[in-house]
Symmetry: D2
Amino acid sequence: MQQVRVGLIGTGYIGRCHAIAYAQAPVVFPLKGQLVREMLAEVTPELAARQAESLGFNRSTGDWRELVADPAIDVVDICAPNFLHKEMALAAIAHGKHVYSEKPLALSTRDAAEMVDAARRAGVKTLVGFNYMKNPATQLARQIIARGEIGEVVHFYGTHNEDYMANPATPLDWHCRKDSAGLGALGDLGAHIINMAHYLVGSRIASVSGDMQTIIGERPDPREPSRLLPVENEDQAHALLRFESGVMGQIETSRIACGRKMGLGYVITGTKGCISYTQERMAELKLYRHDDDQGRQGFKTLLVGPEHPDYAAFCISAGHGFGFNDQKTVEIRDLVDGIAAGSPLWPDFEEGWRVSRVLDAIALSAERRQWIHVEEIN
Amino acid sequence: MQQVRVGLIGTGYIGRCHAIAYAQAPVVFPLKGQLVREMLAEVTPELAARQAESLGFNRSTGDWRELVADPAIDVVDICAPNFLHKEMALAAIAHGKHVYSEKPLALSTRDAAEMVDAARRAGVKTLVGFNYMKNPATQLARQIIARGEIGEVVHFYGTHNEDYMANPATPLDWHCRKDSAGLGALGDLGAHIINMAHYLVGSRIASVSGDMQTIIGERPDPREPSRLLPVENEDQAHALLRFESGVMGQIETSRIACGRKMGLGYVITGTKGCISYTQERMAELKLYRHDDDQGRQGFKTLLVGPEHPDYAAFCISAGHGFGFNDQKTVEIRDLVDGIAAGSPLWPDFEEGWRVSRVLDAIALSAERRQWIHVEEIN
Amino acid sequence: MQQVRVGLIGTGYIGRCHAIAYAQAPVVFPLKGQLVREMLAEVTPELAARQAESLGFNRSTGDWRELVADPAIDVVDICAPNFLHKEMALAAIAHGKHVYSEKPLALSTRDAAEMVDAARRAGVKTLVGFNYMKNPATQLARQIIARGEIGEVVHFYGTHNEDYMANPATPLDWHCRKDSAGLGALGDLGAHIINMAHYLVGSRIASVSGDMQTIIGERPDPREPSRLLPVENEDQAHALLRFESGVMGQIETSRIACGRKMGLGYVITGTKGCISYTQERMAELKLYRHDDDQGRQGFKTLLVGPEHPDYAAFCISAGHGFGFNDQKTVEIRDLVDGIAAGSPLWPDFEEGWRVSRVLDAIALSAERRQWIHVEEIN
Amino acid sequence: MQQVRVGLIGTGYIGRCHAIAYAQAPVVFPLKGQLVREMLAEVTPELAARQAESLGFNRSTGDWRELVADPAIDVVDICAPNFLHKEMALAAIAHGKHVYSEKPLALSTRDAAEMVDAARRAGVKTLVGFNYMKNPATQLARQIIARGEIGEVVHFYGTHNEDYMANPATPLDWHCRKDSAGLGALGDLGAHIINMAHYLVGSRIASVSGDMQTIIGERPDPREPSRLLPVENEDQAHALLRFESGVMGQIETSRIACGRKMGLGYVITGTKGCISYTQERMAELKLYRHDDDQGRQGFKTLLVGPEHPDYAAFCISAGHGFGFNDQKTVEIRDLVDGIAAGSPLWPDFEEGWRVSRVLDAIALSAERRQWIHVEEIN
């Protein structure tokens, strides 16, 4: 069986989640390739060695450039801060590696486009970590839509709200700076809901009318809390959308939405039914069918189970639950199988670039106070 | 005690609800005036007589012009189809009557403005039937916001979606024609959520970017079902809002939103908390406070009770429920008390006109594909 | 049309609710008789006169004995404290009046039996105010069961928990004394859930194994708060049940169940489905059908609407809500129609007596620590 | 670092879950010992080899006796069918191995007692797989109770209902036979809720009054579906409980409860608050505090997060979810840490035996129709 040897860069928040999923994936799924946790890069050799030990990687390095150049690596997994994604991905591609990058793909659409081109020219496979679409409940939603169970989609409403920056006393961090994060809530959270919209509606977003605000304009300097530093990007944004299919949509994103801990959600209305979902109850999906008997119509709460995509590999009993890292495990199954079998991966860098275009279009629309065609963004 | 003698025009859907509330109000509340169900008008004398008998009115007439001119009437209650509101209200005002009209106030902002002017010049009181804001749960929401319990409002999201026209086989009716209804979902349902936005946010909507669609373009002719007639107004609409206070908002309305039976709802985010509500669970309000203890944060489900506005008059035990017509009963208490005590009524015709302006601004924005300042609409 | 002239005794909590429903009923329903609010009795002539004025009754009296003897009264409605039910009902029956009594019917099964006998001998109609079973959602539940939509019932779980006595500082009142209330939580709340069990399961309770406790043994004397008085009956109780049909059941009741404001609820499991309900969301019913398609099974939330029993008279749109007093309005419709049409009323005194037997059986079982056959209670 | 070398017997449903958790645990947690997936036993050498390969175990065997005798095994993990638990555990103990067994510990209380004695005499550590109590939400519930946040517990209500045998056409399997399963729903599901009651209430169950039924008396022979075989144990059971502390409790369990996919749940009422939970929403807990401000009382939905026990190791953001196998991962952390550090494990075999006593007491009580003291069961 072909080996798929992974080099992981970065072991912070999401890097650890990747590591948990790497450990779990080969037991959960009958993978098409032999997944090898080959090498791990961190900012110092010591930290790298310690993390390799605890996360189960064979080797480690304090220099990510060494990792991307290592001949025993097949795929480079980028979990480093956003502003490094581009440089790392291009370097990995230059060495002929497949690349698996966390979202957002890059700080700008232009950068993303460069990455797409490089990957295409090199013929390597790419995958972006939009893990929420790998959740069985959301895969089920897609399946229900694709099978026509709610008729033709007529409206999409999506949110990705969280409250991690809701407290004005929370110090400024990289999320709030243009040079390290690019966009604010749009880039960090909105990216997920745009990808979700593409996936679920099955059509690309064609044009947008957006608006956005920075609510907390200054935050304490983390090194000297009595000093306030300016927040450089938006705390909240929302937009009207039109998909290429003509479907109307609406999205909303915020990092200061008090009360939302994992407020990704969607309501998708069709001509014959409706789907409603919130990631805070990630193992259930609400489904309404307008052709149910009179007096017996209503939203039905479906608990995910073995009849639904990718659930049975974790547990064969319905309603027993599904966890955050389990989504990453599905994503990694896709990664390994795609590389081993030579089949396409999705969401790939191109999708990452498309998402970036929509986000930039929303920001531009908010600035210009007018509708923007996504294809105008380059 | 001063009498408040009501003349009711129209006893269809909402007219019957008014009648139920008129019967209930004097027992529920210690009214400041003596409510008298004096006269009722319907399209024929026979129907009027029958309805007066069953709804408890003293007299009846087949001619609404007789009713508005009757000297024993203090307030004219207009529950006739929308396209008649203006004519009836102006006639009632001409006779010096106070006017209580169902929403939408008129078919156009221009008509609404005329009604506002006439009422102002005549010095009569006016009230528009935006009954949902009279519900204790929503009054509580307003109270929570006004007291600063969720900090400063930073975002408003509101919907009023229903599915009464979701079935394409449902014949065309007056809702779908411009001459009888004016706008579609916006006028019939959206009006409520705009009024709600004004009430809850405590600031007027200043500008909008809207979009709308007619999904079911043709419907059966009710008199000859094999023939299809064109639907003349929108099935669904949504918009971005900016309030005068600078707050960002978003609304959505549809009459074909499969699954929504009474899908009026709102999520109001503040700097210190959040409120979430759906009219389908009209006796509960969800409240989140960001300053709750770490690990003990979460949305709390408040069941309305005697501590909340206007609940105790119906029942002195919390959580025992509140009904649709009970909202109208509160509205009628406001009407009778305002007239008897000579105090202001709200939402009055001016608010009806303001709501109309916002709706027209959304429609115009959808057409022009640009933001519209509400004050441009006249 | 035949008149049904009501004499109401007592205008406290529930008496006011009756009055609201009397006002509403003739407008909501096309009653079979002409409902007349004829006379009202309170503890003093002054209070009676004031209440008659505000509640819309023609005449009043400070002596309930005068009311029950009045020739212009057809039905006596007893909303006085529990310990007076028997005396008033027997007096009313002696004058040949129909009797509509609030629950619990009497302080003991023996007293209830006497009332049943008296009514039967006099040939008068009786009705007990178990209003929760008149709610459209619960009528729908009964309909679903009776039609076999969930197969054969195999388990009943019911609660009626509230927290009105949860605070130990709440002074002792009549609820806590044997001479005024009889049983504690069982009599005040448990009565409803026993009636509900009979109604929904469609079979009588045959035997019980019960347990109960007084958690707050002493409470402040309302006249001298520093003095503590003993609580004489149970704060909470629960029981296993066997119905005559063999079905297993379980009930629970408490007046100190922190968090439950109107915690009447039930889960009824059948061989092909399940129904779940809580009165705190009194306008919705959850329904599960095991024969739904694989992967599309789940509890469906039905919002009550015009297709369901007794909803359309209040509002013709689904999901628009239903209130506490609306249940009483349905009950009063039953009362008036039954008397006017000479048809049977239910739940009648016999059902009140049956409920009392079950409650006494639970209390006896708790004392003896053994199963008790309900028919042993007399 | 000390090694903890595991020998896993059985890789069916729950064995696979263990394997997933073994893979995940060392990455998720900083374990106190080095977890080694040493050996795996299945019914044939071929199957064992295949499973060892896919589940990441070093060695395999077709003979579990070989595994329990292997000198390189520190702890034997028994995931074989229930009727084998005793024999395997005694053999493992005889070889001085620690034992980690799935529930129920044994087919009878007598057998469980024998296992407890053997383990105690051998001085080995034991753990029973009551994984639901390892869930952060339930650990949080325990913490809330232990800290007195809901006052003194006054009532426990618990269920573990599922519907895996609800269809009468489902063939008879080992669950339905006394020789392979012992009790029915009580043994398979009820065991969890009894353990949960002990854990959460913090007091042991002292006496019970139970009832039970076999609803589907015959099922198809799996080898010859046209032939029906008798079901030998109960489909559903419920019981009243008294804890040693005097607290009243109630439990319910069923394997034919249509609609319940993972219907483990509890409502725990205290003198100052209430906790409500269902495993179908395993990442949230509802909490009510009676001392909240008037008009601001209500059940609060807490989403598990990093402030709560054992969540942060999986993800550092609140509300991001928690999965079924994650509970097992916490359990395995307890196992490895306990063995490596020489500290006590819980729930141990003694707790397994205590649970068994309660279950047998319920069954005996149902038969004798009387209350049974748990200590009478041996």
